[in-house]
Symmetry: C2
Subunit: 595 residues, 2 copies
Amino acid sequence: MEDFTLNILNLFLVLVAAWLGGIASKRLGYPPILGELIIGILLGPTLLGLIKETETIKVLAEIGITLLMVYIGIEIDFADLKKASWAGLLAAIGGFIVPFVLGYYTIIYFGGTPTSGLFVAIAVGVTSLATKSRILVDLKLLNTRIAYVLMAGALISDTLALVIFAGIVSFADAGSLDLAGLLWVLGKALLFFTGTIVIGNYLLPILGKRISKFKNQSSTMYFTMILIIAFGYAELAELAGMHSILGAFMAGLFIRDNLFPKNIAREVQKSFYDVSIGFMAPIFFVSAGFNVNINVFQTDLVMMLTIVFVAIVGKIFGTMLFYLPSGHGWREGITVGSGMNGRGAVEIIIAGIGLEMGIINQSIFSILVFMAIFTTFTVPFMLKWTTTWLRNRGELIHVDGRKGILILGVNPISLLLAKHLNEKEPIVHMVDANLEMVELAKERGFECTHGNALKDVVMEQAKANECSVFIGITGNSEVNLLAAQVARENFFIYNNHILLTKDEGGAGKSILEAIKASTVFAMKVQPEPWNQKINSGNYVQKTNTVSNSTKTRDWVLKHGKGKILPLIIQDKEGKKRVFQYEDTIASGEKVIYIT
Amino acid sequence: MEDFTLNILNLFLVLVAAWLGGIASKRLGYPPILGELIIGILLGPTLLGLIKETETIKVLAEIGITLLMVYIGIEIDFADLKKASWAGLLAAIGGFIVPFVLGYYTIIYFGGTPTSGLFVAIAVGVTSLATKSRILVDLKLLNTRIAYVLMAGALISDTLALVIFAGIVSFADAGSLDLAGLLWVLGKALLFFTGTIVIGNYLLPILGKRISKFKNQSSTMYFTMILIIAFGYAELAELAGMHSILGAFMAGLFIRDNLFPKNIAREVQKSFYDVSIGFMAPIFFVSAGFNVNINVFQTDLVMMLTIVFVAIVGKIFGTMLFYLPSGHGWREGITVGSGMNGRGAVEIIIAGIGLEMGIINQSIFSILVFMAIFTTFTVPFMLKWTTTWLRNRGELIHVDGRKGILILGVNPISLLLAKHLNEKEPIVHMVDANLEMVELAKERGFECTHGNALKDVVMEQAKANECSVFIGITGNSEVNLLAAQVARENFFIYNNHILLTKDEGGAGKSILEAIKASTVFAMKVQPEPWNQKINSGNYVQKTNTVSNSTKTRDWVLKHGKGKILPLIIQDKEGKKRVFQYEDTIASGEKVIYIT
């Protein structure tokens, strides 16, 4: 039968395409958006013509953009921005301004209008947020100064780009302006920011409180509430003459902290993530590929190469130049620039809006899509080269803003671990729900908080904010997993190592990967026998110096899984770290284990 | 600025309208759909004209229907259908067939076409699933025979309606048929059902397994996968000449069990629930109100009254008639019929499709919407009258198919509770993660399973399937809450009573309401002191006979919150139940408590 509005087959194929593109991209270590753009170009009208842009796709894509902007806003923590520091600000500004200016003049040089120049300038200036944490983890850069600068840089640069974008849209929309018109545009913008800030800071908390008192409240109600706020803010932005995506972004910023209790926030954010990143945003990115004109490789090759060149060189050297006053050296500046070289969601969204508004033509849009693809390609390689370069020169600076280690679960094993980790300086914080065990830990000289680690308030007390490592080592795998998730999501602890007991089935492992935690001891362990052994003093602590670089898991397999418990890896400087699955023992490092 | 496709303001207003309508409806004890339909009529083009049907609304509404059908499918458990029994089947068939036939002839009588007659017939025949559990809980009907018959009846009736609907659409779509055409339609339908069953039973499990081995898998990936399967099935249904909603429904049926591990299923289902019930489906129901013509009250009043009359009387007496052979009596038949009298999502969806396909006109569509509103209104009243009637006659039969009580957490308090509850017959099953406590429980003569209660496999071992009450009484409120959720969602235990410790903040309470659990002891309790008291034998057990019916919470406040621990309520027949928040102690019942 005829379907009345939807073209289900097309929607189905677009979803499949997005999924396949995203998966393939992730497999190769790239953000999904890369694969989604490429598959959109391949399967869309540009080349194969298997999928096309229907009304359904358009509507979902646009709502997808709105939701994605909300999500990007939710992900940004004002606290993170405050931590950004002088260096991050410099990198962000330099990495934005220089390619912005170069991008603008490139378009003017090739005969474009000033407005289209400004659009391209923003697109060239932005930095992709999407890739950040993944690559930093892969390259083991967490806890380096670069990582902090990169994250802050991307955040600031995106915020900057969106504000400038809103300004340009206001003016482009108003057409030619006299002074009165200019003041009107500025006044509306001011009104918008004042209004959204007042609503966000004063009305949303009141609303959140009222909802929390509803008898039939549920997290679904909060989900609906977020949508309403997001579209409400989007409409306000439109009314103020700015684009709706800015409103959605602002909504995200405020929803984060002001609307609801943190435990519900996590659940709702998950749904929001699923709908935006798992459903609608990929539809937008695939459909962005539909509008790409592959002929630009023939007709506008010079302009394309220039823009890509300007984007890459402008970003990297712009960052480096502005970064110099930080005193961290030009090499670190180049490294940061390389890390910020990717363009992603925000750039494609801006390019798409420019195309729809008729400000840029299809050729320039296509060039911007290819620019996003090329620059994103470069990030892993260049960041790897540059960080290796820094590392080899001994210039990869580790920041120990967060050197604490948070251990959940007081028991003989964890006390032994804590003793090792606390050797050089007191960095271990422990937490347990059992008052007796808390007392025991305190007797042994450890800081220990009493309470439920699944609660933010307890984690705060346990100084989770100062920790970079979380070790969950209670006898309950599920509790360890849940707490690791809290540590990661609410306290930004990215090194999570947890005890999985042997009776833990396969399910635990999949969650483990989802929350990016690893097993402590690099194997499943039944803690009870070991706890008894340690308690009774009936164990021997041994040390094994590794001659060839080995993965921890291999070390465990080689030394007999059942008979030993590897606790600590000690590097050549004597620094100790916990023995866990996702680690490699370098040649000359020692493993401290008990049997 | 002009927005290019979306009308954000309208979308925003529709969402707000849906939200307000849903909330108001829930407050009054009705399903949200009722408020959504009414507010759509009030604010839409029919009356005030504040909101309208844009392309965006249409697309979201239609995707909303598809997702809603998937969700309805996911909610249906084949196991439940098997348990449906002879009586449920009779009620479902009678409650469908009789109004179906009456509805058909009503339309023919008023001069409608046979096809439109069939559409109305289905709409009149279906039963709303949405209301079931809520009303059953409110009227304390869980564990009565009526509840089982009602749930099974609604499930069977909806499944029946959808299959017949698909058949009618196939034929309506094919136009006039010769024998070859008829065979072709039937052949395609057969192919569709065979195909979807084969895919659902054989391919989806393989797919699920493959995904679970992906390195970067996440629950978002499963979410995307569900969408792909849903739209894939929807397209198959279209190809087979049936409507896409039947495909979506079939997808839901299979996704439930075959795609992924249960722990992920719960998380993904939550997102799916949020997107469909918390976002898109309400847009459909509000927009259904847009197409209502209020003039039918003048132009077609007689037809409307006839259809509503036929719907109510046909449903109730049809159910009663067919129910007679069950031997459960005509009064119970009328009660079941009253409970099944609501029409909801499925009816509105079918009516909407009929309107879009041009099979029914706007007047009949409007009548069907009002019929849904009227019949839904009747359910709480009529079910309350009829059950009170049965109750007063002593004919409200309780089913003890599930009489087990599952206690999580072995400790002195829970052992004392278990002893009381097990007094008449061994119905208590205990579960604990600590082996020593498990041994202790076994020594005391209780069935006790060792393991993590958050795991389905452990819960199954602990016979959760045979229990109707879950008591979570470990010292960790969070674990109690999570386990109660598992009990409810994976094992359909609707009476969940859990221990909240005093250090539990407000957050726990809101979750408590969300998962519909209540606090055992009707207050927050610090278990440790009580456990020690009981262990040392340093406590006194007392009994208090209540003279005037009292709420448990009031009893606690009256008898001194801090000094006593109420364990059990014993009714006049000597039957014991656990003391919990959401209960009323009838006059003459005894409270057993310790001090």
